[in-house]
Amino acid sequence: MDKIIYVDNAATTAVSDKVLEAMIPYYKEKYGNPSSIYSLGRGAKKAIEQARETVAKCINANPNEIFFTSGGSEADNWAIKSIAFEQAKKGKKHIITSSIEHHAVLHCVESLEKQGFKVTCIKVNEKGMVNPKDIEEAINENTALVSIMYANNEIGTIQPIKEIGEICRKRGVPFHTDAVQAIGNLHVDVVNQNIDMMSISAHKFHGPKGVGALYVKKGMRIKNFIDGGAQERGLRAGTENVAGIVGLSVAMKEACDNIDKKSAKLKKMRDRLIESITKIKRTRINGDLENRLPGNVNISFEGIEGEGLLLLLDMKGICASSGSACTSGSLDPSHVLLAIGLPHEIAHGSLRISLGENNTDEEIDYIIECIPPIIERLRSMSPLWEKIVEKEKEERK
């Protein structure tokens, strides 16, 4: 296969040239340990502090509110578990989250539930939107934390974060958001949007894998996540991933400076894909058309199963996803698609295309050309499709 068309940018992205260039010196000549006193160490330390400043600036935070982590999942775990246990000391053992969170949040909350916390899982509407009023109603005097994702990885829905943050602020409840899919795609401002804690992952915006950050608003009390040395103000021990942190900051600056241009480009391609693919009979677009990540397309095709579709697309050189790649080890359809009310058999037949900066109009043309015959082929051998067609005929009579 000579041609690779990568449209799975919500899974991960390619490291940009500028990012890689910025990282390499910290593996080679600038390899010092940031905790060391000599110049080689001081240089590494300085690089980290500069990166912290850059990251803070991108989201309108202060540098001392940024903690580097190994990625989005760690940031989610740290924020949620640490606040939950702090709050539990005051007898507050109620957590509010949504039914469409990433597993990094859902499984955290489930583990807390097993440890005696009460969890309210806010339902989303058929478009995947959280209603802030539902959160307001769910908050009680024992609520320890609200965690609602900024933008969904599967269906691209963007939540009313500012409003949710305002409600939490008014009621004195810490508000965490998993913004892994939002950073680099949307303008994020932690002050304006009333965010107390926020998870960031570098590899979703052309940074390296294995590095992320947690924003923690000044005054919020978070606990040590890793015990050991004094790194990250003593809260997360371990020699810093210097090159990774530098990569994260360069990628974040690059992405945040370019949001409007990128967004306009992706939206055009996204809408063209949606318009053309939904022309196929018995398909539906999942998620909200207005409040949607610029590069997200999520479509269900009745009568087929998603994996076959992905394999056939792969044979055409197209890398896409059938929901969240993290769940591909399980046989159950995506919890997000079930949460927006899709029946199991339709959720099974879903395709996620997530566009990135490197995609071209020619690639979109190619995808548009490839999909209909693949759907046709899978449907022609599907007994489920046969039933759908028969039912249609009967209804017409």
């Binding site: 199963e305 994996e307 056939l312 080890g329 029946p343 051998m381 007994p383 046969e386």
Partner: protein
């Protein structure tokens, strides 16, 4: 979770796809909820499976195991076809990822279900010969990823 070359071959070029008009036996197993349904059509003459076709809604492994199952029983006697186990289907495909083993079970059950229908059409109770058809009862929504408890 990689598929073997044989699985990919049978998925990309499935053998015996389609339907048989006036088939002597038709069997359907699986459940749309779990994401796979297999339907098998048999043409049987003098106790020999002369032709077999299938239609499958399901993942790559579901399509490949259906295809392989049809290959394993084509031209065989009913007795031989009844001996085709899910393990035989799996081995013929050079193995399956653990989460996909249930597809081979479904393929075995599809053969048995079609043969049961053949017996029923002849007025013979298939259960003493074939036994009960074990299929998915839509029990996969328990989030364990285990659809078929008999594996």
């Amino acid at each position: 979770m990689a598929y073997s070359e044989k699985v990919m071959d049978h998925f990309a070029n499935p053998r015996n796809v389609g339907e048989i008009e006036n088939a002597d036996g038709v069997g359907e197993v699986g459940n749309p909820k779990c994401g796979d349904i297999m339907k098998m059509y048999l043409k049987i003459k003098d106790g020999i499976i002369e032709d077999v076709k299938f239609k499958t809604f399901g993942c790559g492994a579901a399509i490949a195991t259906s295809s392989m199952a049809t290959e394993l029983i084509k031209g065989k006697t009913i007795e031989e076809a009844l001996k085709v186990s899910n393990r035989a289907v799996m081995e013929a495909l050079d193995g399956l990822p653990p989460v996909k083993v249930h597809c081979s079970v479904l393929a075995e059950q599809a053969i048995k279900s079609a043969l049961s229908d053949y017996y029923r059409k002849k007025g013979i109770d298939p259960e003493p010969i074939i036994g009960k058809i074990k299929g998915c009862e839509g029990s996969c929504s328990n989030n364990t990823g285990e659809c078929h408890s008999e594996i």
